[in-house]
């Protein structure tokens, strides 16, 4: 294969790996938005906590990758439920802007509270994967990249199955569509909202661990930019719709790695936010959203 097409393939692989991380974070955004119409600005910071929990599990508890991933997901699921119960639930009937400001507050709390707990120092993520590389037609597949993609895909498939076919998934969809009607069915809406936060935060935690593995370093402010990018991915796919952020995340990852591949990596973030602006102007409901669906 000639070098240009191998280059392109290489960027696609890189883009998909990065994009699957964005997709995982974006899913949590969109689930929380779908269920309580709140843009949870603390979501990226939950991812950061997930990265640290994973780091802790690997370096201190000496757990291998999968148990460490699970440890991190469970810790963040609990954190997500706590955040919802303490910070958002009391505001459920308050104005949306009040909840939004609270979310920013929670975000800052996690960032700077995190600095107190783990210090602002950048930490190196331990190498959890062997450094094996596979070469196929001149394209490198890092062992880690493959595990990352697989992890993301498996988690997304699990989420899709849960939301689409299980009882609790149906309850989630019911609550997100009409809370009062859900109550009339006997659904405990508070529990379902907590459950949604738990799942969303666990996905963010998984993304955090993968992020640490991908970039090798973590720090207490690492959640900010990926959080914003995942927000772009969610808006791109259509916020509030489950398959939307998966595609949005993957697309964003691809675009970014193509921009980097063209030698313009300093433009990467700018391009991401340009996409956000364009989507908001051209199709605010996202690629998969129907334009304006008002309930009567």
């Amino acid at each position: 294969m000639d070098s240009i097409s191998t280059q392109i393939f290489q960027q696609i692989i890189n883009g998909l790996s990065l994009g699957s991380i964005y997709a995982l974070i974006a899913l949590g955004y969109t689930m929380v938005y779908g269920i309580i119409k709140l843009i949870n600005f603390a979501h990226g910071d939950v991812m950061m906590v997930g990265a640290y929990s994973g780091w802790f599990a690997v370096t201190v508890l000496h757990l291998p990758f999968l148990p460490a991933l699970l440890f991190s997901m469970i810790s963040c699921a609990l954190l997500g439920v706590l955040i919802e119960r303490i910070a958002y639930k009391p505001l459920r009937n308050a104005s949306r802007i009040a909840a939004l400001i609270t979310a920013i507050g929670v975000s800052l709390f996690l960032e700077y509270g995190g600095m107190i707990v783990v210090t602002a120092q950048v930490r190196t993520y331990p190498p959890v994967f062997p450094d094996t590389r596979y070469i196929l037609g001149g394209v490198y597949f890092k062992y880690g990249d493959i595990v990352m993609l697989l992890t993301a895909v498996v988690l997304m498939a699990l989420l899709h199955f849960t939301v689409q076919y299980t009882k609790v998934g149906k309850a989630m969809r019911a609550v997100s569509y009409d809370k009062d009607a859900a109550l009339l069915m006997g659904i405990n809406t508070n529990n379902i909202i907590s459950f949604t936060f738990a799942i969303g935060s666990a996905l963010a935690a998984a993304a955090g661990v993968l992020m640490g593995v991908y970039f090798n370093t973590i720090d207490p402010l690492m959640g900010i930019i990926p959080g914003l990018k995942a927000f772009v991915a969610a808006v791109l796919g259509g916020i509030g719709i489950i398959p939307g952020p998966m595609v949005g995340g993957l697309m964003l990852g691809l675009v970014e790695s193509v921009v980097s591949g063209l030698g313009a990596s300093t433009w990467r973030d700018a391009v991401a936010f340009l996409i956000l602006i364009l989507v908001l102007i051209i199709k605010p409901s996202g690629l998969f959203g129907k334009n304006v669906r008002e309930k009567v």
Binding site: K167, Y177, I187, T189
Partner: protein, 234 residues
């Protein structure tokens, strides 16, 4: 079976129900009629727990409903078909019915209940995989009623089932309400279509700006001067 005594309900500062008392006995069809804003929907929402009475007594089979969580009231045997149907428009017909049986654990019983609903509303069976948001208004009404029946309620609260339906469909829906009642479900029916409501109900209460102003046997009420003038168009 259901007893309200001097119930007061507020929306913030708005006093929506002003000391309402009425009762529904086992096996009856009771109707609550009144014009817009009289407080009919508010009464039903209070019974199903979506709203809470500030003062007054609200009991079902002798049990105080005011302290039971709204999602647990269904389990007590009360099912509410809300105004405007409120079907889960993003889900299929069958998913809506399954949600109606959310608290039931008996798989066989749920299957049975779905069959029963399809028996009452064959149209729903034909459209079981359709997304409910694309159903016609009449079909959505059938779905809302079917969904409410899935919990096998003792008492069914119906909020304006005739709203926005063609006369022929209204007749059909009302005959199904009678059928549901005949098979043992007690019914509390809220209607603006006083004529139809009085024709199938045993007893009726007339609500005006949050107060009950008249009550009695529906035939007698239908014949009374006041009701005919105010609600039956002369």
């Amino acid at each position: 079976m259901l007893v309200l005594e001097d119930v007061n309900v507020y929306y913030g500062a708005i006093h929506a129900l002003k000391g309402i008392s009425f009762e529904v006995n086992q096996g009856e069809i009771v109707t609550l009629i009144g014009s817009n804003g009289a407080g009919k929907s508010t009464s039903l929402k209070t019974i199903s727990g979506l709203l809470r009475p500030k003062t007054g007594k609200l009991t079902f089979n002798g049990e105080n409903l005011a302290t039971i969580a709204p999602q647990s009231i269904v389990a007590k045997g009360i099912s509410h078909v809300p105004e405007g149907r409120r079907v889960f428009a993003n889900m299929t017909v069958i998913e809506n019915l399954e949600l109606g049986a959310y608290l039931r654990k008996d798989k066989a019983g749920i299957k049975e209940a779905i069959k029963h609903v399809y028996g009452l509303f064959p149209r729903l069976e034909e459209r079981k995989s359709q997304i409910s948001g694309t159903l016609s208004g009449g079909e959505q009404q059938m779905l809302a009623m079917g969904r409410a029946l899935m919990s096998k309620p003792q008492l069914l609260l119906l909020d304006e089932p005739s709203m926005g339906l063609a006369p022929i469909l209204v007749k059909q829906i009302f005959s199904i309400i009678k059928e549901i009642n005949a098979s043992g479900t007690t019914i509390l029916l809220v209607e603006q279509n006083a004529h139809m409501a009085l024709s199938i109900a045993n007893r009726a209460y007339v609500l005006e700006t949050g107060k009950i102003v008249l009550s009695g046997d529906s035939k007698q009420l239908a014949a009374s001067e006041e009701v005919r003038k105010a609600y039956l168009g002369g």
